[in-house]
Symmetry: C2
Subunit: 559 residues, 2 copies
């Protein structure tokens, strides 16, 4: 059956490239989902085929797709169902080099084995299909009519570590963990253990990272190999704890991001900058991406749990190819992935009464919903304003400047007939003022990169983080439901008392984790978002002060 997606956002394809422009609400049939790097290929109603970012679309439900298929849509290659029972190929496959200049499709890279990510697209689809307001349990990955028994057996298979793919299938379902089926014999590294403490009443927080550090993302360099046949951009990452730089490409970030998303089902992982196919080597683009990657790195560094995890440290420090490969393999087979990571979390050893946590949690859900709308709106405003100052405001001041320059030219004609005897001829003053207005137009054109674009970059991170919460709430809801099921089993004599106590304790770990994340997100806002707004306002002040200074210069021309 053909798979269909619906565009959730507008996307403007680069003209002359293989990109396809899509419009919010538009339905496309998916022709290829193995393009890589978050891009899918699809066909629109006008028969145009092209690439679009998978993150910009949501996959239509089977029922909707069925309807479209039966309505006689052209048969196109099938998009793999992310939740299908037969695992799609993951390792040792050759990614199609659909663009040989592409900085991530390069299969012959030193780190060629790192995350070509055939599973990437379905993962993205899973993430985007979980939308704000859709907190229902049914949005969880997994068959909609599963029961404890079938899940337990699935979990059993997963727990055995037989395949990352199967893990992916239930990684975000808490069932196997709640049921105590996720225990592995592998020791959890000390660095990955996480502790939650109570601050007050219903406020819980992660124990802070005792050795906070920062990482500088710097000097993007265009590197090449095979005697210049292959070129790519490499960013230099320098952690403050060792001051040793490592060189990482976007595709390494992408691989890392996938690992973090797989590992932390209950912790929002900040998003990477958007993918872009064309213009990747342009200086302005490279610098902007560096800033965005810095934002991503900063966010992870500030997180008490993510900042300590092994895969992150591997990414920040590894400089040896062999060690890189083994570390990569280890990370991809991590048994403490998804909700199973809860095994590494140590909250206060006290049962949380559902009645106590219900109101704060509901408030948190309501907040995330409102905040998502607010951030989305402010991001739209930022983008509009950035576009406007780049185009319209610049053009307007240029138009004023041109208008004055034309007047200066007209005045100069008459000053040829009757020269001005005392002082500067008016034509000259007006001409200079015209030039100054054109200059003000230029500053409007440059302004966005100082205020609106950085604001938009920050909001991009917030949007990504906010987008993770619905899945987290959903997972939590699933855990609560599973606990209720177990209570019933216990009441029916099918589960022992100690078993139920364990279930309760594990459910509490999930609850504590969600609450700790809400706390962390608040502290992020109280510092990081505050700083963002402060920077933004100060940049605006600087800008308008610059306009005033130029206007004062204009006034001096006509003393």
């Amino acid at each position: 059956m053909t798979s269909y997606v619906r565009a959730m956002y507008d996307f403007s394809g680069e003209p002359g490239s293989s990109e396809l422009s899509i419009v919010t609400g538009e339905v496309l049939s998916v022709t290829r989902s193995d393009v890589g790097e978050g891009w899918w290929e699809g066909k629109n109603a006008r028969g145009q085929i092209g690439l679009f970012p998978a993150a910009y679309v949501e996959v239509l439900s089977a029922a909707e797709a069925q309807k479209l298929n039966s309505s006689g849509a052209a048969a196109v290659p099938q998009v793999p169902d992310p939740f299908a029972t037969s695992p799609p190929p993951r390792y040792d496959q050759t990614a199609e080099d659909w663009d040989d200049d592409d900085d991530w499709s390069d299969d012959n890279d030193t780190y060629s084995e790192i995350g070509q990510g055939a599973q990437k697209a379905p993962a993205a689809a899973g993430a985007t299909s979980a939308r704000i307001g859709d907190y229902d349990h049914k949005s969880l990955p997994g068959p909609p009519n599963d029961d404890t028994q079938s899940l337990a057996s699935a979990a059993g298979t997963g727990a055995g570590g037989s395949g990352t793919v199967k893990k992916g299938m239930f990684a975000k379902s808490s069932d196997s963990y709640i049921l105590g089926l996720s225990n592995t014999t592998e020791k959890i590294p000390e660095s990955e253990l996480a502790y939650i403490t109570q601050v007050e009443d219903t406020i819980y927080q992660w124990t802070k990272n005792q050795s906070p550090y920062s990482v500088v993302v710097a000097s993007p360099k265009k590197e090449s190999k095979f005697k210049g046949m292959k070129t790519f951009i490499a960013y230099q990452l320098t952690p403050s704890f060792n001051n040793i730089s490592v060189s990482r490409r976007y595709k390494h970030f992408d691989w890392l991001h996938e690992r973090l998303v797989d590992k932390f089902a209950l912790i929002p992982v900040p998003p990477l900058p958007d993918k872009q196919i064309s213009g990747r080597y342009e200086e302005q683009f490279v610098e902007h991406r560096r800033v965005q990657l810095q934002e991503f790195v900063d966010w992870v560094c500030r997180h008490p749990v993510m900042s300590k995890c092994e895969v992150w440290h591997h990414f920040l420090t590894c400089r040896d190819e062999k060690i890189w490969k083994s570390g990569k393999r280890k990370a991809e087979r991590d048994p403490y992935m998804g909700v199973n990571y809860c095994l590494a979390i140590f909250p206060p050893d006290r049962h949380i009464l559902p009645s106590v946590i219900e109101t704060p949690l509901e408030t948190g859900i309501q907040f995330i919903h409102s905040m998502d709308a607010a951030v989305r709106n402010l991001n739209n405003i930022s983008n509009d304003m950035a576009k406007r100052s780049l185009a319209q405001s610049k053009k307007e001041f240029q138009r004023i400047g041109d208008g004055l320059s034309d007047m200066a030219k007209a005045l100069a004609i008459d000053e040829r007939r009757a020269p001005t005897r005392n002082g500067i001829p008016l034509s000259e003053s007006v001409g200079r003022i015209g030039g100054i207005f054109i200059g003000i137009g230029q500053t409007f054109g440059d302004q966005a990169k100082h205020d609106w674009i950085p604001l938009s970059d920050r909001l991009h991170i917030y949007r990504g983080v906010l987008n993770c919460f619905p899945d987290i709430f959903s997972t939590h809801k699933g855990a609560i439901q599973k606990r209720k099921d177990c209570q019933r089993s216990h009441d029916e004599g099918k589960m022992s008392n100690p078993q139920l106590q364990d279930v309760n304790r594990r459910t509490d770990v999930v609850t504590y984790t969600v609450m700790a994340e809400l706390t962390h997100f608040k502290s992020e806002r109280d510092t990081h978002l505050k700083q963002t707004l402060k920077t933004f306002i100060n940049e605006q002040i600087k800008f308008y002060q610059g306009v005033v200074a130029r206007l004062q210069e204009a006034a001096r021309q006509i003393e």
Copy 2:
């Protein structure tokens, strides 16, 4: 034959009024041209009938109209041809009170006899049909194939003062004056004599007014009569030379304007503010019109010739109804109207060689043409910018403010769950910043009336003045042509030598006058236009300084 006009500008009719919106290039058939006050009634292609400003259209040529008539357009009442041989009724007619609340259609006014102006519309048509770039002699009022003989006889009739209408027919043609047929026995009042002196080479100027003065237009008051049945706005004019106020309505200004235009064929008369039918009693409109009338008055006061003429002084000083009426009649029968006013002008007593004056004059023509385009363009920019800051900029900053306020509301939800313990909650800071941005939006909304609208008002005056020049150049060209004809007559022995010398002297008066007006216009620009730009820039500085101050207040909210 139905008369047709073509819209030269867009005009947006007030919704719900009798006004008709017209679009540049649109052709309308004229249904009434006796509406008064510069309004005509017409029918558009969709059959809609309504009023539009006569100054916004140009009358189609007889050939074009013929074509449209024969193509089967509906027969509509005929618009009087301003240059028709049979004079339309002027005095003692009852103007149609098409709007009884109209502040100028009030026939029972104390000054009821002042300028109901049935001839107004055609005069406007004459003015607007002479467009920049159309400097050709054929655009002169008068039969296109006139000859000296017929003109001389026409001039003879006119000189006898038998009717203002006939005067109007040739008022702008210099022929009768050049031929020496315009002499009357009436003495020219001392105050109206004008002197031109040479400044340098080809630069000539009017002798300055020895007693310069100013006039304040103030306190527009809504007055009423007939126990409140009639209301109108009266402006108080106070000249500095006597400090005695007179009360004048727009319609008195309009009558005066007509007199000045009739009298000074070679001197550009500044335009009055545009006519407006609806919203005339709104405070904002009244105040704006006061400012525009002040601009008009200032311009006349600064003119060395216009500022001294009798009708202007009559307008500025008369407080007695009977004297007003006699002064009015005198002004309307003024024998020194149009080019005949040249009889009151005394230039240097030296013949100007056409070869000497040709280049500066051509430069002047070229300048007026370029300047007109530049002013028109800058005026469009002003109007667009005024609209933009009133609407778009205001809306944009409000949108930013609203976006921040929404975010503040979202943050407040989570602060209910986890109150901020130290310092001001982020929701509060963000909320206040949102309010400040909305405030900035308000200042954008108010800004235009401080910078763009005053600039536009000034440019309105310049547009009107520039619009007069083509007619002036054209009249001059006609005089030069007539002189050549006389030269030929002289060469053929049909004109005596002293007669030709007189013709030459009179032609020189026209040339000197045109040159003096170019000089006056330059000095106006070097002071008045300079001041205009200075004021504009200073207002912009003040505005952006205000924006900076508000942003600084916003920054303080998030210390």
